[in-house]
């Protein structure tokens, strides 16, 4: 395996976010090629490539597109999920910063394929810098005739609106995102109907992750086989891996799916000096954690699934021996409590409860029998909540207990800060304090 | 005279009885205390600051097998508070013609507002007089209490009352009631 810069290939170009730079490196050719094909042919190529959603669930993109009913006389919509908020995930925003045109081109191709004349890019509101870049890219694409009326003389029209969220992790859930985009509270919708049948404004809608769409132009340009030549059989292609935590060089590493974590860690320069890996999470806090024993695991959908976790967003967080698992889990639960939309009982009340108890453990005041209670409560959320946020909230604790039960028992006596002094965990250079 | 010893024995019983303690009760001149847990007249208790414990929930009335209790609740308003929390018992009646002293009402009371005293003198020559009203049932104001209506102790919530955090009326409560008294006299 190796690093495979495709999306990131030209990020070192000082103007990589400008259309001139993008075009210089073959930008928008894929769109022109697509417009010469029928929409179904475009869907066919994406289907063949085996591209899977990069947002977390890993649903095959081509299949998703093909679910949209054709010639139903209704307006169709493409909605880009760029609400990247999962703790640990940080790949879509760098992508939109450095290479927004790949996304815009992907949108144009995707919209053409699903016969949508309206696309929306839903970007979380906390990142005005990324929003500026995407807004600019959209404007440049309009100016060059890649968006708007009669694109490149094909007769295909597409309007793209850049839409900012306003601080709600739940809007990363596709139906909640649609409600939010309709100007409502971002609470998930009852499925069915699925968005492909009745999504935005009750019309057929495809919701794709930003990275997914940005990967499409290269597939159209180079073909499905080229894409499949990277990665594994079930997880073809390249992916942005954002390695963070106690590593020497945290950052974006674009590599083929199935690249072992140990290899990615090597690219990232290994763990920081004098530290050793304690636990790691392959793709956002919503997927169960792993230990150093699992470091050689290939970063693919299927291999991680077999290991009892998930690829998720493909953004590994690496924590070293100075880290308090109790504190880490408590913070994640505080996050889920804060971000629970409140619609369903298990998630709303369960996160409130677990967080309250975990906070006692963080301060060394937990009672051992309460560990069993938290475990039960997690079980009462998992599989019973309205959407996946509840399931996600029920993940960190049982995952941590699997490997670090002793540390939780310790937390009935000693606070997290006493067991794991924060000064050791922080990454500040002495000089900067 | 074979019966003589028998007769003597019999007189012996009488004779010995002369020295036994008499069991006749000299009621009403002498009132003998009842057993500790005797089910006597009810009492509506107060919190240590004088606020009533009754919340007017009617559970006593519902529990009563003889339908002897009638309660009407009402809302505590600012400046017109009788109990901590939102609700108090505006009307509270026990009909002692009906009451069978079973004590189920006491068990039903969620705030320990209703208890039974050992008072057993519950007779009268008028039926209406045997319907006891709230003022007949309320526990008297003890030293340290002030007569409601008055506010709760500053910064306290109803839960603090139930948690037993109140030990007596505060200076503010005394002042408040005093002020109301003066105002009323002024008018």
């Amino acid at each position: 395996m190796a690093l495979t810069p495709v999306l990131t290939a030209h990020w070192d170009d000082p103007n990589s976010f400008e259309i001139t730079s993008y075009k210089k490196h073959g930008g928008y050719v894929a769109l022109k090629n697509s417009l010469k094909m029928t929409p179904d042919e475009v869907i066919g190529i994406v289907k063949d490539s085996g591209l899977r959603g990069r947002g977390g669930a890993g649903f095959p993109t081509g299949m998703k597109w093909s679910f949209v009913p054709q010639n139903d006389g209704k307006a169709h919509y493409l909605v880009v999920n760029a609400d990247e908020s999962e703790p640990g995930a940080c790949k879509d925003i760098p992508l939109m910063l450095a290479n927004p045109h790949s996304l815009v081109e992907g949108i144009a191709i995707g919209s053409y394929a699903i016969r949508a004349n309206h696309a929306f890019i839903y970007i979380r509101g906390e990142v005005p810098h990324a929003i500026r870049r995407v807004m600019n890219a959209v404007e440049q694409a309009y100016a060059d005739g890649f968006l708007g009326k009669n694109i490149q003389g094909s007769g295909f029209n597409l309007d793209v609106v850049v839409h900012a969220g306003a601080g709600a992790y739940i809007c990363g859930e596709e139906t909640a995102l649609l409600d939010s985009l309709e100007g409502r509270r971002g609470q998930p919708r009852l499925k069915p109907p699925f968005p492909a049948v009745a999504g935005l404004y009750a019309s057929p809608t495809v919701v794709n992750n930003a990275e997914t769409l940005a990967s499409v132009p290269s597939i159209i340009l180079n073909g499905a086989d080229w894409f499949k030549s990277m990665g594994t059989e079930k997880s073809p292609g390249f992916k942005l891996f954002a390695v963070s935590g106690h590593v020497k060089r945290p950052g974006i590493y674009e590599a083929a799916l199935g690249t072992p974590m140990s290899e990615l860690l090597d690219y990232a320069g290994g763990m920081r000096k004098g530290s050793k890996l304690k636990f790691w999470i392959p793709g956002g806090s919503s997927v169960p954690m792993l230990t150093p024993d699992h470091i050689d695991i290939p970063m693919s959908y299927e291999d991680l699934s077999a290991a009892g976790t998930m690829l998720g967003t493909g953004t590994p967080m690496m924590f070293d021996h100075t880290t308090s698992v109790v504190k880490a889990v408590t913070r994640w639960l505080e996050f889920y409590k804060h971000e629970s939309c409140g619609k369903c009982t298990p998630c709303r009340e369960g996160t409130y409860w677990i967080t309250g108890v975990l906070e006692k453990f963080e301060h060394g005041k937990g009672k051992e029998e309460e560990l069993e209670v938290i475990n039960d409560v997690c079980g009462q959320i998992a599989g019973r909540s309205f959407c996946a946020l509840g399931d996600a909230a029920a993940t960190p604790f049982p995952g941590a207990m699997k490997y670090f039960a002793e540390e939780f028992r310790q937390a009935t006596k000693t606070s997290a800060d006493a067991s794991f002094p924060p000064s050791a965990t922080t990454i500040f250079e002495k000089a900067s304090v | 005279m074979a019966e003589l010893p028998q007769m003597m024995r019999a007189f012996g019983v009488t004779f010995l009885s002369m020295f036994r303690k008499v069991t006749t009760e000299q009621y009403p001149e002498v009132k003998v205390p009842t057993q500790e847990r005797f089910h006597g007249k009810h009492q509506l208790n107060r919190h240590p600051d004088g606020l009533e414990k009754c919340v007017g929930c009617e559970l006593c009335a519902w529990a009563c097998p003889a339908d002897a209790i009638y309660v009407e609740g009402a809302s505590n308003e600012e400046g017109d508070r009788f109990s901590p929390g939102e609700r108090y018992g505006r009307v509270y009646q026990i009909n002692y013609l009906r009451c069978i002293g079973c004590g189920l009402c006491i068990e039903a009371c969620p705030t320990r507002a209703l208890t039974m005293t050992n008072e057993y003198e519950l007779a009268d020559n008028s039926r209406t007089k045997l319907i006891y009203e709230k003022e007949d049932l309320l526990a008297p104001i003890q030293p340290g209490m002030v007569q409601p209506p008055h506010s709760m102790i500053d910064d306290f919530v109803a839960q603090d009352y139930y948690d037993g955090k109140v030990t007596g009326a505060s200076a503010e409560q005394f002042a408040e009631v005093e002020l109301i008294k003066q105002k009323n006299q002024g008018i």
């Binding site: 709600a168 509270r185 009852l190 409590k337 804060h338 971000e339 629970s340 939309c341 409140g342 619609k343 369903c344 009982t345 298990p346 709303r348 009340e349 369960g350 996160t351 409130y352 409860w353 309250g356 108890v357 006692k360 209670v373 039960d376 079980g379 009462q380 599989g383 019973r384 909540s385 309205f386 | 919340v55 007017g56 929930c57 009617e58 559970l59 009335a61 519902w62 009407e72 609740g73 009402a74 809302s75 929390g85 939102e86 609700r87 969620p110 705030t111």
Partner: protein, 793 residues
């Protein structure tokens, strides 16, 4: 086991077979699991689910196990499909544990205040906590608390601690009432129901949210802490307010009505009622008359015994026999109205009887006699729900018959109903039923109707205000016939349709029989046990004519019953008429200005203290029994029977059974009906700057007599403003927010102006709110010309 919506043969194409708890069930396609289970006797616990609301599956209480699905599924949101194998908590530990888990979650933050909670004793959370809850809580950290309660409106209170976030209330307000004034605010554990800072929950249907709240989070100010559910006696009743005919549940304790709830009636009010029907019953206690009173020679009113009062009254009217007018209100039960109808004809030998204590005309009389009386159920609620086209003429549904509004809204929400309203402007409630308004000046209705393209087989609903503008009702009949449309007349009061049916009108006898028809008179006479010639054969005087005749001395005595003087078309004239006649008998429940004028004032029973029947606008009888039995209040019919007896008549009608028996013997009238009216329209008045045509109607919540004593309800009245079009306002130099004086020779009303999009030259004001009292202050009606002027005098 077969479960179908009715007893018709099951259509196998539209039904599916599945298994619930091992029992095979056959249900119509699309039946939700929770309903199917319920119909086979298994109650799956639920909070957010409500049969009238769209499923949301938010509370997760109703989770069940479905074979082949990895996770438990919400039974409230999943329809049963062919061959599905469902296991509820009865047979599945997965379902049982899932439900227990959700219950535990619901209780962690729920306060332990059941003893002081109004819902305690009838609370689904309480009940389900007993079946699915743990005995002891494992939750030992601090509960979420909120200050309690907060006022959503003067009538509705919210205790956020008790809320389980099921969103029934907010969904009801949005989906059913169309008044999204309450919403879920905040997020996650802080999520709570609330209102915007500057707009309270003043919906006419707000009370329903209290009823459907599955916990004690929503309570009403009027019932708060007044009684516990287990201490109430519940009886089914019919609402006495409007002509909708809602089924209600009246809860009373110790002979006092504590609250009223909507009683489910799928054919009429479904699960709902309006706030007036729910909360406006305090009048039952206000100024109740309990004792007959007679006026002595020295002019004082004194209490009298019943026999003396009856004798006195009988003597009084005997003196005036043939010169007695009978003025009734629109709120009598059919049985009582019938007694008046019979009493007028037999005891008073007159047809001078009219129940229309409101704007009325001869045209309307003929309309009622020819089109309404005896027409049965020409249009029903179900018809409205299925309708494609509905035309509203002088009828504002939400204000004048709110349950019709809900049905129209339900149909409009489904998207297949088009409502066209002949009205001066598009009101917010018309907007909520997606109505299209043909902006019309009062007086121009007939012209507009004739010029309108109305689809064949529409439904035309015409309100009582149509009587105010000559020619409107004639045009309505004409258009209905031309377009083959169904026509229905919507009165505002509960008793009006019944009064039409039993002939409490000068030209009608019971069953739509014209007084002028000899066979009609003979029919009636046979039942009454008299000769046909005993029944007067000439049409009598109507309300206005009776008053005129009283003023001119042609009428010497008045029998006035169930009538509020402020409702009269001209309260001033009514007052003068009462002064002018020699003898006045009033029958009513309350002491008021009328009873104080009476020579004999007789107390009668309010609806809660008698049995009776209201005929709703559909023509559907809505019988109800007596709720409160311990009072000795007499019905109007019983009092009349006593009076008739005192006059030596064989009147009958001593009991409600006897009355109903007699009423049922009338049967339908197949003879000649009254001629349909054909009155020419005179069109809207011409106005110049400084004047305008008056448009007005009664708002649902106003200062009506039956809403007295309920301050909390009054607090939710709509704002009192006048409406003008921008053009008319500009011509008169008026701006929004200005005070405008609306006046005529009689008096004036000063009111705040709000400029809206509406027909020019028309000023709209509410009929009976605060200072805007059209009848008593102006004595005017819709279509009259009034002066408009900036500011106050």
């Amino acid at each position: 086991m077969t479960l179908t919506s009715d007893n018709k043969q099951t259509n196998t194409e539209n039904s599916i077979t599945a298994t619930i708890d091992g029992i095979q069930v056959q249900v119509p396609k699309g039946t939700l699991i929770i309903r199917a289970a319920e119909r086979m006797g298994t109650f799956v616990p639920r909070f957010c689910d409500h049969p009238a609301l769209a499923p949301v599956a938010a509370c997760r209480m109703c989770l069940v196990e479905i074979e082949g699905m990895p996770k438990p599924q919400p039974s409230c949101a999943i329809a049963l499909t062919e061959g599905m194998n469902v296991k509820t908590q009865m047979t599945s530990t997965v379902a049982q544990e899932a439900q227990a888990g959700v219950m535990e979650f619901l209780l962690i933050n729920h306060p332990l205040d059941c003893p002081v909670c109004d819902k305690g004793g009838e609370c689904p959370l309480q009940n389900q906590a007993m079946t699915a809850g743990r005995a002891e809580s494992r939750f030992d950290i601090e509960k979420r608390t909120f200050p309690k309660p907060i006022e959503l409106s003067t009538e509705i209170l919210l205790d956020r601690e008790r809320c389980v976030e099921c969103a029934r209330c907010t969904r009801f307000s949005e989906e059913i009432a169309g008044d999204p004034f309450i919403e879920l605010l905040e997020r996650g554990a802080k999520q709570q129901v609330g209102i915007a800072t500057d707009e309270p929950f003043n919906s006419y249907f707000s009370g329903n949210t209290v009823q459907i709240c599955p916990v004690g989070a929503l309570t009403s100010s009027s019932y708060r802490f007044r009684a516990r559910p287990f201490d109430l006696v519940s009886v089914p009743t019919t609402c006495e307010h409007c002509a909708a005919g809602c089924s209600l549940r009246t809860d009373y304790r110790r002979e006092t009505v504590m609250r009223r709830l909507a009683w489910e009636d799928p054919a009429v009010n479904e699960d709902w009622n309006c706030d007036k029907g729910r909360f406006a019953f305090a009048y039952l206690k206000e100024n109740r008359l309990t004792q007959p009173k007679v006026r002595t020679k020295n002019g004082n009113q004194v209490d009298a015994l019943w026999p003396d009062a009856i004798d006195f009254a009988a003597k009084g009217i005997l003196q005036a026999k043939g010169k007695v007018g009978v003025l009734l209100g629109g709120r009598l039960t059919m049985e009582d109205a019938y007694a008046y109808s019979k009493f007028a004809r037999l005891a008073l030998a007159t047809n001078d009887i009219d129940f229309r204590n409101r704007v009325n005309s001869e045209e309307e009389q003929d309309f009622l006699g020819s089109v309404v009386a005896g027409s049965g159920g020409s249009v029903t609620y179900a018809d409205l729900e299925k309708a494609q086209n509905v035309v509203l003429v002088n009828f504002e549904p939400e204000e004048e018959s709110p349950i019709i509004f809900l049905r129209l809204r339900k149909a409009a929400q489904k998207g297949n109903l088009k409502v066209t309203a002949i009205a001066p402007y598009l009101t917010r409630s018309l907007e909520k039923i997606n109505a299209e308004v043909v902006a019309t000046k009062p007086g121009d209705e007939a012209k507009v109707l004739r010029g309108l393209k109305i689809a064949q087989e529409s439904i035309i609903l015409v309100g009582e205000r149509a009587a105010a503008t000559p020619g409107t009702l004639s045009a309505v009949i004409e258009i209905a016939e031309k377009t083959n449309s169904k026509l229905s007349w919507i009165p505002r009061r509960a008793g009006e349709r019944g009064a039409v049916e039993i002939g409490a009108l000068p030209n009608l006898l019971p069953g739509g029989r014209p007084v002028t028809e000899v066979s009609a008179r003979n029919d009636v006479a046979a039942i009454w046990g008299v000769n046909g010639s005993d029944i007067p054969n000439k049409p009598g005087r109507n309300h206005s004519e009776i008053i005129q005749a009283a003023l001119s001395g042609e009428i010497k005595a008045l029998v006035i019953a169930g009538l509020d003087v402020m409702d009269a078309p001209d309260p001033q004239a009514l007052g003068q008429a009462i002064n002018a006649v020699d003898f006045v008998i009033t029958l009513g429940i309350q002491e008021n200005s009328l009873t104080r004028y009476a020579n004999v004032s007789l107390p009668v029973a309010p609806v809660t203290e008698k049995s009776g029947t209201f005929i709703n606008w559909e023509g559907r009888p809505r019988p109800f029994g007596r709720a409160i039995t311990s009072t000795n209040a007499l019905t109007d019919a019983r009092v009349l029977a006593m009076m008739a007896e005192s006059l030596g008549l064989d009147f009958g009608l001593q009991t409600i059974e006897e009355l109903r028996q007699e009423l049922s013997s009338f049967g339908s009238w197949n003879g000649k009906k009254l001629d349909k009216p054909s009155v020419a329209s005179i069109g809207a008045a011409n106005v110049s700057v400084g004047s305008a045509i008056l448009s007005t109607w009664n708002l649902l919540l106003d200062d009506g007599a039956l809403q007295k004593g309920e301050e909390h309800l009054a607090g939710t009245q709509r704002p009192v403003v006048a409406h003008l079009s921008a053009k008319t306002a500009a011509e008169n130099n008026l701006e929004s927010g200005d005070k405008v004086t609306i006046s005529n020779s009689r008096g004036s009303i000063i009111i705040k102006l709000e400029i809206i999009e509406m027909v020019n030259d028309v000023v709209w004001i509410p009929s009976n709110n605060h200072d805007s009292k059209v009848k008593s202050k102006l004595g005017a009606k819709e279509g009259d010309v009034v002066t408009i002027q900036k500011g106050s005098f």
